[in-house]
């Protein structure tokens, strides 16, 4: 069984700020508890961002995501 759904947290950036930033760069992620609040609490995170990849996504989409996360860190001053 394989899945392309990746929940992640970026140090120092709240997922809602990250989601807003990525949205403005043309990247759609979901942010929040993903209907799994107990798991968020167990993991010790306020919320997470979630990238859901599918058949139509390409390697360049993933590169764009990684690059934009780096830009978000600069924008919010965490790096």
């Amino acid at each position: 069984m394989r899945g392309g759904v990746i929940s992640f947290a970026v140090n120092g950036i709240h997922p809602h700020d990250l989601g807003q930033f990525l949205d403005s760069h043309g990247i759609a992620v979901r942010t929040g508890h993903h209907c799994a609040w107990p798991l968020n609490r167990k993991l010790g995170v306020a919320a997470t961002a979630r990238a859901s990849l599918y058949l139509y996504n390409t390697e360049s989409d993933i590169d764009a995501l990684v690059e934009s996360v780096g830009l978000a860190e600069k924008y919010f001053g965490t790096k």
Partner: protein
């Protein structure tokens, strides 16, 4: 939509260097408000300074909008009487509900006018209002005790 319209420099500054963050050990009223849908969470202490002002300290976790708003609110309302604070809070609420049609009165709201852009992002309005609602709750409790 323009991201910088939402995350004004003033907002990012307050987020990185928040004012009045860290709860004072002495307080008259403490409230705890949170938004379970996104995890924003604030605890707010009010201390009646005996001179008609309610000193605000707070602590919390949340997005840049909610934390910056708490910082700006605490800075703005700490040296105001509860009655003035209610007036300013109502101005801020009106700005948040304006859907971008208001710019905010800087003579009343000072740094808080930076949140005008938030009113165009319906999902983020509750972030900006969290700390203000916590203050409203706490200040009403102080006023009720005085009666």
């Amino acid at each position: 939509m323009q991201l910088d319209n939402l995350y004004q420099e003033v907002i990012l500054d307050h987020y990185k260097r928040p004012e009045n963050k860290g709860l004072a050990s002495k307080y008259d009223v403490q409230v705890h408000h949170n938004n379970p849908s996104c995890g924003d969470d604030i605890t707010l202490n009010l201390k009646d300074d005996g001179a008609g002002h309610l000193a605000i300290t707070w602590d919390g976790v949340g997005c840049a909008i909610s934390m910056a708003s708490a910082s700006v609110m605490s800075d703005l309302l700490s040296d105001k009487s509860p009655e003035e604070a209610v007036h300013i809070s109502n101005e801020f609420l009106a700005l948040m509900q304006s859907k971008g049609s208001l710019a905010g009165d800087e003579t009343i709201l000072e740094d808080a006018v930076a949140f005008a852009g938030v009113s165009q992002y319906p999902a983020r309005i509750k972030c900006a209002l969290l700390a203000w609602m916590a203050y409203k709750d706490a200040s009403l409790q102080v006023l009720n005790r005085r009666r």
